[in-house]
Symmetry: C2
Subunit: 127 residues, 2 copies
DNA sequence: GCTATCCGTTTCCTTTAAGAAAGTAACTAT
DNA sequence: ATAGTTACTTTCTTAAAGGAAACGGATAGC
């Protein structure tokens, strides 16, 4: 058994938090969603081709699918412009702005982890 | 083209941040890692079977694999206890504690998203 | 008519992730 | 001797994700 005093402290809150965590992960799953969102944060509105260029390595099919999922979940808006040829702009919704803390936390952790791994390497190289 | 003024503001920083983001996502990919980490935050040290019970729905094979990956990336420690039968304890490393902001941000977003979706439903139901 | 651009879609294929079920090894209790 | 516990591993199968390449409709320019 796991420590009962901790488990019983707030079991319902904990369950709710796990569910919330799973909700978030479901929305943000996949290899590219965070990358797309980060680019939209950085550049504001972007067109399909811009996103294809900024999300290095993504194929149009995957980009299309990811954008559809993000739109379904009301995290991005899709706007068809009256240009010729037609262009389509994508932008974050106000709701998506609340993902920014997640992305920042991920980036910070990534940066820390990088330096940590680097230090381990130099320790190993240190004969 | 995407807005050049924003793009040229800090292109190298942006690239570094994208790489850091991808690093994080690589470490934390999969359906269960965040769930396992959250349980270790909540309960402290847990044994294999505890984790199987708290990560509802996980199979021993997947749990074993996820724990191995977390250990490889130095996010959890694995300790074999001198009990009979043998038990194995898992705990977070100091380094893993830096993931907590990520998890908290994910949970907060999940909670907000839940209430948002709820509101949308009640709006739709409002004839 | 030919070519190009933009925003996709379609088809096909490969890789990866995940789940179900059974087995293993070491030990204990009955 | 048999059954149970813990901590996995192994095997098999299925589902999901992802990539490559080609195609399509709309429009424009030459």
């Amino acid at each position: 058994m796991f420590p009962p005093e901790k488990c019983e402290q707030a079991p319902e809150q904990h369950k709710e938090r796990i569910l919330a965590l799973k909700d978030s992960l479901e929305l943000l799953s996949g290899k590219w969603k965070f990358c797309i969102l980060l680019n939209l944060y950085n550049y504001g509105t972007l067109r399909f081709k811009d996103l294809q260029q900024t999300s290095v390595g993504i194929t149009p099919k995957v980009l299309s699918k990811e954008l559809q999922e993000l739109e379904e979940n009301q995290l991005v808006t899709r706007t068809v412009n009256a240009t010729k040829p037609v262009t389509v702009s994508y932008a974050l919704t106000p709701h998506a702005i609340e993902i920014q803390p997640v992305i920042n936390a991920l980036i910070e952790f990534g940066l820390k982890h990088r330096t940590k791994i680097k230090n381990n390497w130099s320790q190993l190289a240190n004969q």
